[in-house]
């Protein structure tokens, strides 16, 4: 069995596309982190349309921006996804997200500039603590040049 292609991209937002049981497309932006075996993981609510779609059809496409030598491009990653509701994988993913997104200098600067928005933001995440992990196993990676 060949290992999934390794995803290397500078973009911090993954735009994951799925299809419902009726064939209705869905695409939404999520934070992403690398996972063992070349996989990528994103957290999402258990009842989100994306998670419901994956339960019906595991095929997904993920778009992640990248930039090399001044040229903008998008990685189009086709693969399969599964939803993992377990606390252990969720905690591992959240810890990686903490380092990548919440403790990044620009994130901290935003919180310092707008301290009154922080309580609502924290409450928002606590109210949605029923999240799990969408784990994508890439099958192919294609580069789309944006020019």
């Amino acid at each position: 069995m060949t290992a999934p292609p390794r995803i290397r991209a500078r973009g911090k937002i993954a735009r994951i596309a799925t299809a419902s049981a009726r064939g209705t497309p869905q695409i939404m932006p999520l934070w992403w982190v690398s996972a063992p075996g070349g996989r990528i993981r994103m957290t999402n609510g258990a009842t989100s349309p994306t998670v419901r779609n994956i339960a019906h059809d595991a095929r997904v496409t993920v778009l992640i921006e990248d930039e090399r030598d001044g040229a903008r491009r998008v990685l189009r990653i086709e693969g399969t996804a599964r939803y993992r509701p377990g606390r252990r994988v969720l905690l591992a993913t959240l810890l990686r997200q903490l380092a990548k997104y919440h403790l990044a200098p620009r994130a901290l600067a935003g919180a310092v500039r707008h301290p009154r928005r922080v309580p609502a933001m924290l409450r928002y995440y606590v109210e949605r603590s029923d999240s799990g992990v969408i784990e994508v196993t890439p099958a192919s990676v294609e580069i789309v040049e944006l020019g």
């Binding site: 911090k12 937002i13 735009r15 596309a17 799925t18 299809a19 064939g23 209705t24 497309p25 869905q26 695409i27 939404m28 932006p29 059809d57 095929r59 997904v60 496409t61 993920v62 778009l63 921006e65 998008v74 189009r76 997104y101 919440h102 990044a104 620009r106 994130a107 935003g110 919180a111 707008h114 928005r117 609502a120 933001m121 409450r123 928002y124 109210e127 294609e142 789309v144 040049e145 944006l146």
Partner: protein, 118 residues
């Protein structure tokens, strides 16, 4: 019961529609899910989109249902965007489609507010 919501009205993100930093599109063609980056224009209330780099043989067609995502930001308080789902119709410019939205969802994490649950 009230919860914190990030949802806003599409009009609240007019600047994002008029100057989108990026856009993406997803649709189903021949039973295959297709997603691609896209060019996007908001022109007098019309939503115009052109996929970039659609796989060969998988370009969208008249009547396809699509979802277009226009979003911005990386960190929590920067995140905002719109998702527009509707039917694609060919526009005047080659490769462009007009999306007639059937459902629009807009969000802005910088404008989180308390909202009664339905």
């Amino acid at each position: 019961m009230k919860r914190i919501s990030r949802l806003v009205q599409p009009e609240d993100l007019r600047d994002l529609l008029d100057r989108p930093p990026r856009a993406s599109i997803a649709y189903v063609r021949g039973g295959r899910l297709v997603a691609a980056p896209a060019s996007f224009r908001h022109d007098g209330g019309r939503y115009l989109v052109a996929p970039i780099g659609a796989p060969p043989g998988a370009a969208p067609r008249d009547g396809d249902t699509a979802m277009v995502l226009v979003d911005d930001g990386v960190y929590s308080l920067q995140l905002r965007g719109l998702r527009l789902r509707g039917v694609l119709r060919p526009a005047a410019d080659a490769g462009w489609f007009e999306l007639a939205p059937e459902k629009t969802i807009a969000w802005d994490y910088a404008r989180m507010h308390e909202r009664a649950q339905p």
